[in-house]
Subunit: 692 residues, 2 copies
């Protein structure tokens, strides 16, 4: 539990000096000025007090227990001080200083030493190379941090390793008037981790929404579990930076993370139901709407406006985000025709004209609140000088206070001239945005969280007809022989064990054998060389397609026999299939996260358009289906241009069987079923590859 960190009864600051520009001094000032409710202990052998607070020569001299110790000092000095903190029984140390793993191996050694010492005494480390935490709760007022944004109590809690971004988000929430509940920026995060903090925020009743920034995930499985615990209780709004190759490089250079684009983080966000953002401003703005509004029951938006253009802009954004602007019910229409100006054309979006007064706004809002076809209300309001904007605002607030359906408002106004209108809306808890697009995106995020809350994630189907033991035995045998790449018989053997249909095949030792085998399988056939030393078979003439008779088979085998003089040379003879559609299913082990399962359809599409879908294993039935429907080439599945579609059920089965296989036999690092030839009522793997 992180209670002693976020609700410390006492905070000591080691190295706090009387100098204004000293970080320890600033932490003391922050604690004092923000009204920290616990005891503050500056630790400095050379001074009697810091900012009027009595100082102690050593942490060991402090008269009470100490929950949190700030160590805003350079790395070299830290291990020794942790030792002292251990003897004192300190619960958390916040290592604000740099010089740890972020500077390379020398710092990493010190970091390890700190971890070891802390472990010895049961101390938890926050950081190092970090800003610290904040808890704005009245009973704590813990501003354990040296940054510049004065905390403002709110219901959004935020967490980011990056101090710069944490501060940016914090400042933004402050400027938006939303404030924060808790704040954590834990730098190198050598001990207290993002999942720890997420879990803590999840349990904190004062936190209604969590804002998260990451550049990659250290321990994705733990992260996923923590997020899955939190999301049903409150939304997590997250941004992952380092999305581009160059961005990932920039991230790696300051975090030591992986310098490559990762799709795993997106998949984890999706699986956990985290709302994902690509823009830091949008992230904060979306957080704002969660602070006051109920979650909508559906995606149908009623739009009320007193000016045309902004409603057009909002409609574009709402609809692009998957929401709909349905017609109003007959009842609503009848009521509104009665109550609005006669020039008003009653429809959705509903333009009640610039001259609309408070009654008109109220009528529109009431009608939409009563309309069963509407789940949320978007208000676009400009403040012409010739109407009573304050009264309009009061009506909006009244309806908002009913909390029947969520409301969002783009309030386009002169914030000085119309300060009162702005204030009425703010005090009334109406989420107001300067821009129609921002307001629309915030409502989209709110609706999306509603969707996530309602979504069916499906179940992981366990296929009972699989022979796990057989697959494991094949793998074990290959491992015993020191091989990483499985041969055709092994690969197809494992597929057979997992009920994945493969085009009829048999391995032949020579031309005679191949000819005989081919006639058993039935023509036409394919012949492929099968040898550990031949990797890209088709590129080197190791594949002969569509052989129509025994003579052709013999000729092909003899030619390959000459071309490939490998001692383990064999020949795979396989039924040649034509006329179906190509599909691909694969899996790949990702460090610490399990396997990614991949699927694509349509042959050439997969390569040219990178038209593939990924999910984390284990893949549920619903996820497998959504993999297919998310492909750009999805219409191919149903058939187009008079061509037949494919057996989707069989393909989702293969996806799930592959998922089960890599879960059961996780030593499989990579596997590709490529291509699968899919027909209207069946499919067959015609080439496959497995690497341990």
């Amino acid at each position: 539990m992180l209670d002693a960190l976020f609700k410390p009864k006492s905070v000591a600051v080691i190295g706090a000096s009387a100098k204004e520009l000293n970080i320890g001094n600033r932490i003391i000032r922050n604690l004092v000025e923000f009204g920290y409710t616990g005891a503050i202990y500056p630790i400095n052998p050379k001074v009697d007090e810091v900012r009027g607070v009595k100082a102690y020569k050593s942490i060991l001299d402090v008269p009470t227990e100490v929950d949190v110790v700030h160590l805003p000092v350079h790395a070299a000095a830290v291990p020794q001080i942790i030792e002292e903190c251990g003897r004192k029984g300190v619960k958390f140390v916040i290592l604000n200083g740099g010089g740890f793993s972020e500077i390379g191996p020398v710092g990493a050694v010190i970091e390890e030493e700190c971890i070891a010492k802390a472990k010895k005494y049961g101390i938890r480390i926050f950081g190092p190379n970090c800003q610290g935490i904040i808890n704005t709760a009245l009973e704590s007022r813990a501003y354990c941090n040296f940054t510049f944004t004065r905390p403002d109590p709110g219901v959004v809690s935020l967490v980011a390793l990056s101090g710069g971004v944490a501060e940016l988000l914090h400042q933004t929430l402050f400027q938006m008037g939303i404030g924060t509940r808790m704040y954590a920026s834990n730098g190198n995060a050598c001990d207290v981790s993002i999942p720890d903090i997420l879990r803590y925020y999840g349990k904190d009743e004062g936190t209604h929404a969590v804002v998260l920034y990451v550049e990659g995930l250290r321990d994705p499985q733990t992260f996923l579990k923590a997020a899955q615990e939190v999301v049903p209780k409150k939304p997590i709004l997250a941004m992952k930076a380092g999305r581009t190759e160059a961005g990932a490089h920039a991230a790696a250079s300051h975090t030591g993370g992986l310098a490559k684009k990762d799709i795993t983080t997106d998949l984890i966000f999706e699986k956990a139901g985290i709302l994902s953002f690509h823009d830091e401003e949008e992230l904060c703005q979306a957080a704002g709407i969660f602070t006051t509004q109920p979650i909508p029951k559906g995606n149908r938006v009623g739009v009320i406006t007193n000016t045309g253009g902004p409603a057009v802009i909002a409609t574009d954004v709402l609809v692009s985000g998957g929401l709909t602007i349905p017609p109003l019910s007959e009842k609503s229409t009848a009521i509104l025709k009665e109550k609005l100006f006669k020039e008003v054309i009653v429809r959705n979006p509903l333009d009640i004209l610039a001259t609309a007064n408070a009654d008109h706004f109220r009528s529109g809002l009431d009608a939409m609140m009563d309309d069963d076809g509407i789940d949320s209300i978007f208000i676009s309001m400009v403040t012409p000088f010739f109407v009573d904007n304050d009264s309009i605002a009061r009506q909006i607030v009244e309806v908002n206070n009913q909390k029947r359906k969520p409301i969002v408002c783009t309030l386009m106004t002169d914030k000085i001239g119309c300060a009162e209108t702005v204030l009425i809306m703010k005090d009334g808890g109406v989420p107001c945005y300067d821009f129609p697009s921002s307001a629309a995106r915030a409502l989209t995020a709110l609706s999306k969280y509603g969707e996530i809350s309602r979504r069916e994630t499906g179940s992981v189907k366990r296929f009972d007809d699989v022979d796990r033991g057989k697959a494991e035995a094949i793998v074990k045998k290959a491992q015993g022989a020191g091989r990483k790449m499985l041969d055709a018989a092994e690969t197809y053997g494992i597929l057979a064990a997992y009920g994945i249909p493969v085009a009829d095949w048999k391995v032949a030792a020579n031309a005679d054998d191949a000819e005989k085998t081919a006639s058993e399988i039935g023509f036409p056939v394919v012949v492929k060389v099968d040898s550990a030393s031949v990797v890209h078979k088709s590129d080197v003439g190791g594949v002969a397609l569509n052989l129509q008779d025994g003579t052709a088979v013999r000729a092909a085998v003899e030619k390959m026999g000459k071309a490939f003089q490998a001692p383990d040379l064999k020949f795979l003879v396989q039924k040649y299939l034509s006329g179906g559609k190509e599909a691909v299913v694969g899996a790949k082990a990702e460090k610490e996260v399990g396997h990614l399962v991949m699927c694509g359809v349509g042959g050439i599409y997969i390569e040219i358009l990178e038209d593939v879908a990924f999910k984390l294993s284990p893949v549920t039935d619903i996820e497998a289906q959504s993999m297919l429907s998310s492909l750009k080439a999805a219409p191919l599945l149903k058939g187009v241009r008079g061509e037949k579609g494919i057996d989707e059920k069989a393909l989702t089965d293969v996806i799930q069987r592959v998922s089960q296989l890599v879960n059961d036999v996780p030593v499989i690092q990579e596997m590709d079923l490529n291509p699968i030839i899919a027909f209207e009522d069946s499919l067959f793997v015609v080439d496959a590859r497995m690497i341990l």
Copy 2:
């Protein structure tokens, strides 16, 4: 010229009353308070003065000439007043009131009457149903408008029909501290149009950038010409709303525009070199950077930061926008290794650490300014309390004042605590943004304008081998016969006249004829029914593919003869081609804009993925080439998976020949060459359709 509108020597306001909530009263107040330099004439028979300004009973009583008359009155009264204005010799009337074409046919009649009366007297109408204009130039200070944002002089001019959006943009520019030069919101725009205003802004030396909002283009050709005049002199930053089906409907409902998604506006923006935005905030933020920064010579960005995360975010946005973050030169690297903290790893992005002081920032900036591999500089700056942020800001300003390369800055700070830092940057003309993403997008827009300034648009190739007379004769004959759909012989005849290769074909009257024709053409052949009454031939069994001999041809023709009993029934016999790749080229007349020319490649891609590219005719050589390269299936052109590519030159030729054809014979409303079978060194149209 719009001088008398934007620089009026006198402004009269008809119907200005003493009441605060009266629009005329507000306009007079705005003129007075903003310090309008000309004469103000309230016109009201019932009062002696309005806001201390002497009032006149009638416009005819005004003692001097009148440049602009505001008519903030309802439509019905307007025509009569225009008549009076005409007699007075007024130059412009601004019709602020509603009740015109925006409410339907009744209002449209009044609008027409106003136009007629104005024309009679040579008066120009601004509006109706509009807000008006503003010119902040010191010598004018013309605030001819009743909205709430107090104008703040600047170098950005803006124009939008929508009053709500114009005011939103105006307010945003005000809040950003950018201000505006001129402002025009012309509502129904029955006379003075957006192109008129663009041209005027283009010639105004005080306007450095133009911000434009549209929901559709009224007279696209004129708009295109005006924009093409302006863009080489100054950037136009534009947003088109109504991008989605629902958004277009919302737009149509308040402008009476077309309720459909239009791609023409995008194509016109592209052709004119207008910078296109999908977000109103982004639009304004991008405008900001043009107010102070030079245009970069290329897309290579140097990033300097004193905190890691925000630079990662910026890198993602910059790179996604087509910019690059190249390595620093050896010389820069050597200098920086000398001048920065020893812990700094010298690279791009360059993280100079949170403890960096003014000298460190200056060294980084100077190195990048001197580095020939860098075209612009992105600064990411947080303001830690322990460094002298004001001095850093002063160094940035000094470098900025050199105007060697553009600078943009994300300044993440406490705007109150660091007010001085913020002020130094602002006064120094450094474009500062709260968010790394916003700053990066602004720099992307600036760089994109640089690209546009440097771009080659190519030339429209005139093919001399075409026979325009023949094509016109074919069209005339069909028109004479009252036909809109051309038959196969006509269609192919026109294609032949324009040098577009068609697979060998001939029309046969009966089976004998067809069999003979087929052997002349050479097998295999296709047979298609050719009759005006059969439209979707292939859906109704009117196409027989890949006929290998005379018997097959005879059988096909006889079968079709029975199935289709049309009196004009003939049979098109055509060479059957196989093995190539499919492509599509088409053209479609768009109201008032000419023709859109379309191209796609890859058969099934075109339908499933809507993978097509459009350009406005006439299509230049470079545009034709860029159509191909912009296709998702573009790699198909070069060949993939061992397949051969296609003759790109031949395909761009067809695009340009089609462009020339629809320009020469604009009565062609729609034509489709679908499919074209393309080979490595040739291509042939195998089916085509033309509608007049």
